[in-house]
């Protein structure tokens, strides 16, 4: 089975971010950049299928040169190949433009499955996966929490959470999947894996897509409004209950 996994490099969510004073973006100085953690789950899904069916796992990322670090994480986990697409237009691109660039590259690769994360933890867009499915003409299943491919590798059975339930869906391959964190537990890169990944060549290509011009653009980034701490009360249970009920009635007006 030929599996392509889309990988984005993002700031580590564990650390705080610094918004540039002019609000044009975030300050990348000293920022720890890592593989988007949903993409770790996507990579893990790909590796497990490869272990089951044989074939290859190819990682693909679009972004600046530094993105190679995120690709190396995936190689160290056990992916076979990695590709980076760079290009001057990418900086200005919106998510649809990014999907177009990725689609052009993936079209040239054999692919039974294309796997993306459910969202990227910097943009929080959840656009690239389904947009890519459309551009590649593939059926899709998004935010899946369970994945089984049948023995003949022709269909995938997936679960996805919907409001108040779980949808159980059969998707014929080739297909595009986006994955939820509950799908699996990503493996840690092994030491030999890390050594191998260091030596591995990452193929780089330049996107010549002239149409990455964005149909939407980020004009300002600000910190979220700071919430004021309210009243903190230490009281016995009866007093506490009275306070909460009064709050629900008078302040929140839901009682």
């Amino acid at each position: 089975m030929n599996i392509v996994v889309c990988v984005k490099q993002v700031p580590d969510t564990e650390a705080p971010i610094r918004i540039k004073p002019d609000g044009s973006g975030i300050d990348e100085m000293g920022l720890n950049l890592v593989m988007n953690y949903y993409d770790e789950h996507a990579t893990e899904a790909g590796l497990r299928l490869k272990e089951q069916f044989g074939g290859t796992v190819t990682l693909i990322a679009a972004g600046p040169e530094r993105t190679k670090e995120a690709l190396r994480t995936g190689l160290a986990m056990g992916a076979d190949e990695a590709m980076l697409i760079t290009g001057p237009g990418l900086e200005q691109s919106d998510h649809l433009g990014m999907a177009r660039v990725l689609a052009a590259a993936i079209k040239a690769l054999p692919h039974d499955l294309v796997i993306c994360g459910k969202l990227s933890t910097d943009d929080n867009a959840s656009i690239v996966g389904p947009a890519l499915a459309e551009l590649l003409g593939l059926p899709q299943a998004t935010a899946i929490a369970h994945l089984e491919v049948d023995a003949s590798a022709t269909t995938a059975l997936v679960h996805r959470e919907v409001e108040g339930g779980v949808e159980i869906l059969e998707v014929p391959l080739p297909a595009l999947l986006t994955v939820e964190r509950s799908l699996n537990e990503p493996r840690y890169p092994s030491l030999p894996g890390i050594m191998k990944a260091k030596r591995k060549e990452i193929k780089t290509s330049t996107s010549t897509d002239q149409k990455v011009a964005a149909s939407s653009r980020l004009t300002k980034l600000v910190p979220p409004p700071k919430r004021q701490a309210g009243r903190v009360i230490e009281a016995d249970a009866d007093k506490a209950v009275a306070e909460i009920v009064a709050f629900l009635k008078n302040d929140a007006k839901v009682l």
Binding site: T121, A131, R160, V162, E234, A235, V241, L255
Partner: protein
Amino acid sequence: MANDVWVVVEHESGQPKKISLELLGRAGQLALALGGKAVAFVPGRDVSAVARALGPYGADIVYTAQDPLLEPYTADAQTQVVGEALRKEQPTLVLIGSTAQGRDYAPRLAARLGAAIVTDCASLEVDNSSLVATRPMYTRKAIGTVMYASEGIRIAVVLPAVYPVPQADPKRTAEVRAMRIPLDAKQIRTKVHEVQAIKRETVPLTEADVIVSGGRGLRGPENFALLDALAKALGAAVGSSRPPVDSGWVPHDYEIGQTGKTVSPQVYLACGISGAPQHLAGMSGSKHIVAINKDPNAPIFQLADLGIVGDLFEILPKLTEAVKKAKGGNRD
């Protein structure tokens, strides 16, 4: 190109979902600003009852697209039908709820139409004839302002509970027009085996005005019954922080936070939740926050409007009784 603002309506058992009514209210305001009409588009098997319900909430026109192939929902069928309708009518803006369905097909639709799309909008304004959205980014560590390009159809996937459900005006009716959009079974590549309902006595998280949420402080799965009882009395939904999910006390779809859901109810009641940044990422947009925690230094108190330092096991049962009493007795 019409200056109309569309809402793609989600519905269940012949009723529009709350999110769709919220969007319809906003569509009315934006249509006014843009000089167009508020249009509801209702795809489904038999949607006559849903269609009739939308006029009172502000739809000027209701388009229906009926086909048995539209139920159960699939991305393929939905993209095809909504896509064809939009191609034909060319509204300037389309509002879609940020739900399991909306997030699934909206980007696909945008790619098909080459339409601008912004997801998880927390506000949508017309500013000097440009359309501007704000949205949480960097797991809610920042709020981004995004400006749409002015040409073509624009798609906004809007978070639940950011706009109020408009007051229904029973005298108001909308013109209902049936659209015929051919759909071929072969176009639907995925097959829905079933949708297993997760049995819950309480409202879904994304539809709730009030959410009561439990954390590691609940100590075990059995104690979520305390939250269920309170939620039932309040008409609230039950959520959780991550540890109860990781420990298997509650299903994954309870999780609120960076890797879970983003919610913004009228009231969020956090019980036995410390207030880690990853949890706050999902709930700090709530209108009112109440926290019960036995540790006076719990970080959740730094953003709670009302913080109660106390033992949730003592407080919750009493609170449930008091809420029942305030609501005029136990009705079940």
